[in-house]
């Protein structure tokens, strides 16, 4: 149900772009206004969210420790999984952000007769997630060529690496294909693993379909439908320099659909779980050193509390204490 609704929403988006161009001829709206609005929403929204997180205090130092603490000099500390210094934390975060280390150690269990619970390692989610994020990233970087003239040389090297597969006469860029496959995998596991299906919201399917449609429209455009690349580059360069001067009608509708879907995705990010890309850096269980006993952590809103003092305690129990031979302050 949630999946279906999200699919419908994405189809509606595609139709809007199609009708907007084909029927209403709103080229300027879809080619210029909406992309600008989307980027603005994205930038302002993301900054707003991150600043808001950043401004929220971290009252306690609560890293989740996943290895041996630093204690006695002869006991080997797990410097990455239980960091006690900033460099350790940086290492931990880098491995987390770039290689999804926690997901790498994922396990699954099986309850057998007996009962006997067996645990095994499972790397599919890690692999799928890694493939998805990295290919998305490469695809994004590849698009930089649309906004630069001359195209920086590192982009050429990326494309050479990316395009080592020759299918027929056509150079296929791996990243787009991997992205499509990975996003499909992420969708399928959501549908077929009962627990994951049970927890999935429309807000989980929607971005998957959106990204799927972005990738599909991109692939269609690149390999199957002929588009006017020169005009597109003129438009994107124009967008980048705030001076669009190209006849927008020359560009075919598939480009507008692609652009509209991308705009929708960017504008949607600040309101969605995709914000995890920023949040992961601010997660107090991962980005703090486990050195609470070495260095005092300050809670900015620490306030005095009502306590039961020793004096009150002694008043309650003075005679008992004396009888039990326990020294007291007031005889």
């Amino acid at each position: 149900m949630n999946a279906l609704l999200s699919l419908v929403a994405v189809i509606v988006l595609i139709l809007i772009a199609f009708i907007g161009i084909k029927v209403a001829s709103l080229h300027f709206l879809f080619g210029v206004v909406i992309p600008y609005a989307a980027i603005a929403t994205f930038l302002i929204g993301v900054i707003y969210r991150v600043v808001k997180w950043g401004r929220t205090p971290v009252p306690f130092r609560i890293p989740t420790t996943c290895g041996q603490q630093k204690s006695l000099p002869w006991i080997k500390q797990s410097k990455l999984d239980n960091p006690s210094s900033t460099s350790g934390v940086i290492g931990r975060m880098l491995l987390e952000v770039f290689l999804f280390r926690s997901l790498f150690s994922n396990t699954k269990f099986e309850l057998k007769e007996g009962p006997k619970i067996a645990y095994g390692s499972t790397k599919w989610l890690w692999l799928g997630g890694l493939a998805f994020h990295w290919s998305f990233f490469v695809v994004l970087v590849r698009h930089v060529r649309l906004f630069t003239e001359p195209v920086p040389s590192f982009l050429h090297s990326i494309e050479v690496l990316d395009g080592f597969l020759q299918v027929g006469a056509l150079g296929v860029l791996i990243s787009g294909v991997v992205l499509l496959l990975a996003v499909t995998y992420l969708f399928l596991r959501r549908v077929f693993i009962p627990e994951v299906r049970y927890i999935s919201l429309a807000a989980d399917y929607f971005p998957l379909f959106l990204i799927m449609s972005v990738a599909l429209s991109g692939i269609l455009m690149r390999y199957f439908l002929r588009v006017d690349l020169v005009s597109i580059k003129e438009l994107t360069m124009g967008l980048a320099s705030f001076s669009v001067a190209v006849s927008l009608e020359k560009i075919s509708v598939i480009f507008y659909i692609h652009l509209f879907l991308v705009s929708a995705l960017f504008a949607y990010i600040p309101f969605s779980k995709i914000m995890h890309m920023g949040g992961v850096f601010l997660s107090p269980t991962r980005n703090l050193a486990n050195n609470s006993r070495m260095e005092r952590h300050i809670n900015p809103w620490n306030y005095p509390v009502k306590v039961h003092t020793y004096e009150e305690y002694e008043d309650d129990f003075r005679e008992i204490m004396k009888d039990a031979g326990i020294p007291v302050e007031k005889e």
Partner: protein, 558 residues
């Protein structure tokens, strides 16, 4: 109370989620899964809101008129005070990596015990009230209203989380459902919705210094009994001091270890060790609790209870503090105490008077874990140990949730055990260290009315023990946690009968060769040492003594 099903029945678990979506599946309070409600008196003692007579089974929980307003206001306040809470509300992608990591899910199959869904119980209300998307799109965006049934669902499931943090290890963003549970419990406490098993001990601790409500003479009395036992086993009379000014070290233990077996054997072990070292230390009857049931109530309550440790250290003029074997106690001491009640600038950086080691890792809090202290002693060869006295034991070690995932004290206890026992075996690597499984009774869930929940939650732990029992003949489960010592014995009896439970310092004391001791024939439990044949007379005496101890404790409890 309903009858708890037998183990083989209980282990048939269905993991298939129900057909209806989780928001449309109403909460059902199953007998054996929840604890009695907090008593009015306990709440009054600590000045908590809405003290009244109520039962979770009642239709009407006797809430103030404006309860929704109170909760939402409290919600907002906490979102602004805790980055963890705010970020964790926002960034979960529902990837499901955490789903099968919770012992309560593994043991019950209830999808709302998947950490992600437990968090969604709260997150859905967050979205409905504090996010644009949720306000506009409602259920489509996973948002819902805060209704009475939702509140009841919160209560039911946030007291089915032991705040063990296992989910947090596997989450790619480190989302810690324990943190979310803590916030949920704070909100529930704004309405007087705690459990008796938590608010009772918290109130006790506030007034009397410890969860069990042991008054000064009961503490000295209990320890006196232990000293008698130690004397009859070793021939040595130990004379500890209480509330003594000018001692070098203050020693704080979880009060459970002063009260019931097998925790008391751990305390006996500590008494013997410190005596043997000639340590200049004192007990305190005011700061007679290292544990902190306030921590299962609210941050503020936890701070109020914890304050006694530094206050007492200051009053007595000690130089530093040693803490006993306990799990959540060390989460609090390690990650919270200094922030709440520090700086402890009236103390000195802890330095072992025996080895001269300065505990750099505790130079700010000035509080050292007894396992760190003892490991250092052994490393420096300061203890005369005879591990053969533990030769009848095949030991495995259970890492407590809090000490492993909220501190990381993994090797110290292992090092000690390997030096005092000859036979040590690790459990499945997926069930120890940072991946350890909860005893199923942490965070104030070790009551008796929720025993089915506890046995279910403890299944993964017990099952890993069973595995080493079958492989290596393990017969003793060691740990460094007072709740473990209370919770694991019934868990073992239920799933793996025949496995005993022990604190690490009980093992130490059994192996410790003390100056001037008589030839020992029994261990601290009064059982014959390996190779010693017990006469019928001795056996009778031992059993009599056990019975007498049992009667004595019953009397005190009553």
């Amino acid at each position: 109370m309903s009858k708890t099903p037998k183990a083989d029945e209980l282990s048939k678990i269905d993991y298939m989620p129900p057909k209806s979506g989780w928001m449309d599946t109403p909460v059902e309070f199953k007998q054996g899964f929840w604890c009695y409600g907090s008593k009015a008196k306990s709440l009054e003692t600590v000045g908590f809101p809405n003290p009244r007579q109520w039962s979770p089974a009642d239709e009407d929980w006797k809430l103030p008129e404006n309860w929704q307003e109170i909760v939402l206001k409290g919600f907002k306040e906490r979102l602004d005070k805790y980055r963890s809470f705010k970020v964790f509300m926002d960034i979960c992608v529902r990837c499901g990596a955490c789903a099968d990591k919770c012992h309560f899910f593994i043991g019950s199959g209830d999808p709302k015990n998947m950490p992600v869904l437990r968090a969604e119980l709260l997150r859905s209300v967050y979205r409905g009230n504090f996010t644009k998307a949720g306000k506009i799109l409602g259920k489509l965006a996973g948002a819902r209203e805060l209704t009475y049934p939702v509140l009841k669902e919160w209560w039911y499931y946030f007291f089915q989380c032991t705040e063990c943090r296992r989910c947090s290890v596997f989450c790619p963003y480190g989302i810690d459902t324990a943190e979310i549970t803590m916030m949920a419990r704070e909100l529930l406490n704004l309405l007087g919705l705690n459990t008796d098993w938590i608010s009772g001990p918290a109130a006790n601790c506030y007034m009397k210094g410890n969860h069990l409500g042991l008054e000064p003479h009961a503490i000295t009395g209990n320890i006196e009994y232990m000293l008698d036992d130690i004397e009859s086993i070793t021939g040595i009379r130990i004379k500890p001091t209480f509330n003594r000014k000018g001692a070098e070290i203050l020693f704080v233990v979880p009060s459970g270890d002063l009260f019931a077996d097998p925790g008391t054997y751990t305390t006996m072990g500590e008494l013997m060790l410190f005596h043997e070292l000639g340590l200049d230390y004192t007990w305190s009857t005011y700061a007679s609790e290292g544990g902190n049931f306030g921590f299962f109530t609210s941050n503020e309550m936890a701070k109020r209870l914890n304050s006694k440790i530094y206050a007492e250290a200051k009053r007595l003029g000690v130089k530093w503090i040693i803490g006993g074997e306990c799990g959540h106690m060390w989460r609090v001491l390690h990650q919270y105490m200094d922030t709440w009640n520090g700086p402890a600038d009236f103390l000195e950086a802890p330095k072992s008077p025996i080895t001269g080691t300065v505990f750099e890792n505790a130079k700010s809090t000035k509080m050292v874990h007894i396992a760190e202290f003892t490991a250092d002693l052994i490393r420096h060869g300061k203890l005369k140990l005879d591990p053969r006295r533990n030769d009848h034991l095949k030991v495995t070690f259970h890492d407590s949730c809090n000490t492993s995932r909220g501190m990381g004290i993994l090797e110290e206890p292992r090092y000690i055990i390997k030096n005092v026992c000859s036979h040590f075996y690790e459990m499945d690597e997926n069930t120890i260290r940072e991946k350890t499984f909860c005893c199923g009774s942490g965070s104030g869930l070790n009551a008796s009315e929720n025993i089915e929940l506890r046995m279910r939650g403890g299944l993964p732990r017990a099952n890993a023990v069973k595995d080493v029992v079958e492989k290596y003949g393990v017969n003793m489960l060691a740990n460094i946690c007072a709740i473990d010592r209370a919770a694991l014995p019934p868990l073992m009896d239920y799933w793996v009968p025949g496995v005993g439970v022990t604190g690490v310092h009980e093992l130490v004391a059994n192996a410790l060769v003390m100056k001037g001791e008589k030839e020992r024939t029994t261990n601290l439990r009064g059982e014959p040492l390996p190779g010693v044949v017990e006469t019928r007379e001795e056996r009778r005496k031992r059993e009599d003594r056990r019975k007498e101890v049992g009667r004595r404790r019953k009397r005190e409890e009553g």
